[in-house]
Symmetry: C2
Subunit: 350 residues, 2 copies
Amino acid sequence: MRKTSVTSYDVAKAAGVSQSAVSRAFSPGASIAEKTRQRVLDAARELGYQPNAIARSMSTARQEPSQKSGMVGIVVTRLEDPFFAHAIANFSRHLQARGWHMLLFTVDSSAEVDEALNSLMQYRIDGVIILSAILSDHMAQVCRAQGTPVMLYNRDTKGLEVSAVGIANHEGGRLAADILLEAGHERIAFVGGDAGDETSREREAGFVQRLAEAGLTPFQRESGDYTFVSGREAGLRLFARHGRPDAVFCASDVMALGILHAARFDLGLRVPLDFSLIGFDDIPAAAWPGHQLTTIRQPIRRMIREAVSILAEAMEAPGEPPHTRLFPGTLILRDTVRGMGTASLSPDGQ
Amino acid sequence: MRKTSVTSYDVAKAAGVSQSAVSRAFSPGASIAEKTRQRVLDAARELGYQPNAIARSMSTARQEPSQKSGMVGIVVTRLEDPFFAHAIANFSRHLQARGWHMLLFTVDSSAEVDEALNSLMQYRIDGVIILSAILSDHMAQVCRAQGTPVMLYNRDTKGLEVSAVGIANHEGGRLAADILLEAGHERIAFVGGDAGDETSREREAGFVQRLAEAGLTPFQRESGDYTFVSGREAGLRLFARHGRPDAVFCASDVMALGILHAARFDLGLRVPLDFSLIGFDDIPAAAWPGHQLTTIRQPIRRMIREAVSILAEAMEAPGEPPHTRLFPGTLILRDTVRGMGTASLSPDGQ
DNA sequence: TCTGTATATGAATGCGCATTCATTAGCATG
DNA sequence: CATGCTAATGAATGCGCATTCATATACAGA
């Protein structure tokens, strides 16, 4: 394991050709005789040669439209969250299928995004996907200046010159209100993320708007940090007071499940007999037999396919204006809304 | 956004120094006057200069012990699985804290690991972590030849010259059997991953061994693919037959929760009254109020810290022999084993 | 056989940086 | 003031590859 790895020169020598020929043998579409290519490939196999991607991207740095590093940066918060874990898994598959690698950076808050981006950009990533966080105005300009396309997933562009794919949060909030209203509820609470969270605010806004149209205002309001534990705590607070809500819309399934468990198992309440509950996202656990959580589904497979597709286009044709695409959420009726669902009459675990 | 980014030459010109000086200004410990360094840093800030990590690693390729690319490869299967999502999140934090970036590659089966490694190694990663999968003998040698340390997480080395961090599966299996035996069970079933899965086999072996010591053999055996759905199906099969087991040890919490939900909500069984259940891993959902799953905990924070630490050492001092570290699992008594637990008398959701 | 065109090939070059080597400046001592 | 030393600096170099440019070769048509 002494000296470094095999280079194209070694292969060239072994195959009796020039280094250029070796490079051509590994470049699809290059001008090289089939016979020569075979000879090179054989020698390469013999020596265990693997082109050095780092050197390649150094070299291609000159050419304009070429793939630069082959890496896409990913900035993500809360990777533990099933919602993000699924997203990353999906992104990974799509990106890999198109020949890109993922350079992953996790951050603890939106405040760290710029720093993460800086760090990532030193690797000359060909593009970057930011999940549920937003970059600064300044950093957006830096990215543009570097020609690095940015894709915001699950976040609004807020006027920045970047692409975005997300869910129609406002509409989703209205949808949730619709069904709760239709079920005849009147004391409807909302549980969201912290006040700074755009996504949660949009869902709340749509929800509140629809309630207002029915002459109602939210009965109560709690918030958490998108974890099960914080949902559980919010649930405990919600039902500790005197006048209880008779329905809850929660801006995230994970927290909604926290509320559900708190209500059923900490407090002994019955859902949907004592109150109705609706979540957002439709994570897998929402469909578990013991949960059967009614929720607003995000079509994440389609969303991610679209996000990768838009980003790929931007990476291949730099200079194009950014695209934004919003997907509608779908109501998934299960068993946590009174009178509405697939099995409202069956036992719900109480 | 025309020509490419700012280089060290641009900064040199702006600061009125040579390119070497710029490089030194960014290299801790280099011989440069403080005054000069400040001048360079000012100019760099002015121009928005960021050192090019790709070029840097090209350049440092010559020096022996130096950090090469600053990237660590990660190969993972089933990123959707909460167990892995947590692991990746943890790895990410530790690696970042030490200044490394993660180049992530997801694979669908162990068969693809070699291919993934090849792909990753083209980026001259400084090391690689493989989660719950194993590389081939041949590829292990290639990694050694390239001086790329390999860390197997959650997998045995099987004699390969690589490092590993994992849980004592055999002991864990025994532990599970211990508690079930102590609770007085006699018709004890096992649910594992598919037959090819090492982890599952080891847990089963320990479990079966301990049962044998008590004069018992497993009452029944089912397997799944580590998803909730497959656990649920296994549960359905388990209790569809005539003679039911009175206890189940499941090699993974995710599947155990599938069994739990199937039993309670599909079949109306009571846990632990009708049967006891014990899982493995201690994922967060195991502790949810409605689950309270008794399980064998993996100390994943410590395990991951240790894995990163071992890998870091190997990356910094190449040529050192690999290390393997096995952690013991801990029994977490909750409410799914009859007569043993924190609240065996409280309602369990039935 | 000669010319013209298409195709293959090798030599040379540069991507952006860290480092080595040679030189110079700065400073203390005799 | 000369000498010896250290610290700071710039010029030059190469990491491994893709590409350009200039040749060389093959082959068709006249």
